[in-house]
């Protein structure tokens, strides 16, 4: 069974179709990428999948379950984790508290258990802290656990967002331009991190402009342009697909390029 399936997924805004009847299939395991020029609808697609934007048409299934009408927090509990293109950490909280907040959907202690500090709450909280420290170790931020999150440098804030999303132990991790603003060394380290996450069993779906990053990591790529899916396949196939080259470079430049290669 596929982990994520969207069927005819559409989001219309006044005078604009941001996502236009997209059928996206993400099988369990591996790294999947969505690419496309600016304004192709990639972030809207992520917002539709995580429930921040309501679809105008179409359906979303997670692990066979229809989640189209489910609110964001329920989808989080069902296993959709994500990061944001513009970093959205909780700046005033410590790094560790950010990651603990990421585990919110998994924690079950009742109000009574919390208020009376019953053993169930205490042990759950201990486990959550241990798991949060593990997530921080995964992204290499263990030393920063007690710092206010806003004091982290940019690249570390991106990695904190990933740790926070992983604390929820998602089935599907959505990474929205994780390499944006990173230098080549940081990007290489990030690629290693994403690979480790995928190898540990979390399915990764990412949006990214850094083509080197996408081509080297992805098992499968979906290309969007003007909200429509124009191609999908293995990285090598994507690179040589005329429609994709055209979407990025424009028809005239693409034709010139083909002529030059011929």
């Amino acid at each position: 069974m596929n982990l994520l399936e969207t069927c005819g997924l559409t989001r219309r805004y006044a005078g604009l179709v941001a996502v236009d009847h997209v059928d996206l299939v993400v099988p369990r395991g591996g790294i999947h990428a969505v690419i496309g020029p600016n304004g192709a609808g990639k972030t809207t697609l992520f917002n539709l999948i995580s429930g921040l934007v309501v679809p105008s048409e179409g359906s979303i299934h997670l692990a066979g379950q229809d989640v189209t009408a489910r609110p964001t927090h329920v989808r989080a509990a069902l296993g959709i984790g994500r990061t944001f293109q513009n970093i959205r950490i909780f700046g005033e909280m410590s790094v560790l508290e950010n990651v603990l907040t990421g585990a919110h959907a998994r924690l079950r202690a009742s109000l009574v258990s919390i208020a009376l500090r019953l053993p169930g709450f205490r042990s759950e909280e201990r486990q959550a802290v241990a798991a949060a420290r593990e997530a921080l170790a995964l992204v290499g931020l263990s030393e920063r656990a007690a710092q206010p999150a806003s004091s982290l440098p940019y690249g570390d804030q991106r990695r904190l967002e990933i740790a926070r999303a992983m604390a929820g132990q998602p089935l599907l991790l959505l990474l929205d331009e994780p390499a944006a603003g990173m230098n080549p060394a940081e990007t290489t380290a990030l690629a290693g991190l994403v690979r480790r996450i995928a190898d540990a069993g979390t399915t990764v779906l990412l949006v990214e402009h850094d083509m080197g990053f996408v081509m080297s990591l992805s098992d499968h790529i979906t290309v969007l342009n003007f909200g429509r899916k124009i191609f999908e396949g293995k990285p090598a196939a994507v690179r040589s697909e005329p429609a994709v080259v055209e979407a990025y470079l424009g028809a005239r430049l693409a034709a010139k390029l083909r002529a030059a290669h011929a």
Binding site: S50, G51, L52, P71, T72, H73, A76, A77, G81, R82, F84, R88, I89, F90, G91, E92, M93, S94, L96, E97, L100, T101, G102, A103, H104, A105, R106, L107, A109, L111, I114, A115, R117, F121, R122, E125, R126, A128, V129, R164, G168
Partner: protein, 291 residues
């Protein structure tokens, strides 16, 4: 044979007696305003703004007084029951407005306060403009401070858990909190209901220690005063708004001569707090992990 300290004719030392006679009402006000500050805190802590805390307090006051005078219920029943009516109104206001973002709750709660004031003024059972007199003084100082300590302790313990983390996360970024699995509308409604419980109990205690309640005690003016408690103290911990309430309760006593300017002071404090003390006087925040 009852021990001496339990006997009803046990006497308070003369000096303390005078002190309580003079300041008893002020001491009770410290406790009640502390509870009101906490009721404001709960709402602000999830990133919402309500100006209905005085209205919830009034609902608690009027409903409890009617329970005492008309239904002749004992106080140990009236006190817990005094939160029922405020909670119903919190649900009625919160369910439709919390789906909308930003200022809708604030506006709806101002409206609630004004509607209720008109209701108290015009419906006979609430005593009209004269209010209700002759309320038995059943709220003891120990009850008031007992409730305050209980509320502080509860909010502190809940604050240091996944619930407290979720509340702070919502305050910082509701969208990111939702993606973490926080049921944002649910928490917002829960906070409003909790604040109605606290304000309702404060209203009941206040009504049962002053022998009189009237429609103008629960209007827009006290709502702003309650907001200024939390703005002055801050909302980093539950203690902060209580300290803010105590400062603003004691200040008019110290500045007796300027009692006409009381509202000016409150307004000034809101402006100064917003401009220069975005985290209040007590800016430190509690650590959100228990282990």
């Amino acid at each position: 044979m009852m021990p001496a300290w339990l006997a009803s004719d046990w006497t308070i030392p003369a000096g303390l007696d005078d002190f309580l006679w003079t300041y008893g009402h002020l001491i009770n006000s410290l406790g009640i305003n502390g509870l009101l500050a906490l009721s404001m805190y709960v709402v602000l802590a999830v990133g919402q703004l309500s100006l209905g805390q005085a209205a919830f307090m009034g609902l608690g006051a009027y409903s409890s007084v009617l329970m005492t005078l008309t239904l002749k219920l004992p106080f140990y029943v009236v006190l817990p029951a005094s939160c029922l009516v405020p909670v119903l109104f919190a649900l009625a206001v919160g369910v439709p407005t919390l789906r909308l973002s930003g200022v809708y709750l604030a506006i709806a709660t101002i409206g609630l306060g004004e509607v209720l004031r008109a209701l108290y003024l015009n419906v006979d059972v609430f005593g009209g403009a004269l209010g209700i007199n002759g309320i038995p003084e059943r709220a003891q100082t120990w009850m008031i401070f007992g409730m305050l300590i209980l509320a502080l302790l509860g909010l502190w313990l809940v604050g240091r858990s996944r619930i407290g983390r979720a509340m702070e996360a919502m305050r910082e970024d509701a969208t990111a909190a939702a993606v973490m699995g926080v049921n944002v509308p649910g928490y917002q409604l829960g906070a409003l209901v909790a604040s109605a419980v606290l304000a309702g109990i404060a209203g009941c205690l206040s009504a049962h220690q002053s022998s009189f309640i009237g429609p103008n005690e629960y209007g827009f003016e006290p709502a702003v005063t309650i907001l200024s408690f939390a703005l002055l103290g801050g909302i980093g911990t539950p203690v902060a708004p209580v300290v803010g309430a105590w400062i603003l309760t004691l200040l008019p006593e110290l500045l007796r001569g300027f009692s006409d300017l009381r509202l000016v002071f409150n307004g000034l404090i809101i402006v100064v707090a917003v401009l220069f003390l975005p985290h209040g006087l007590l800016g430190w925040r509690m650590r959100r992990r228990a282990a």
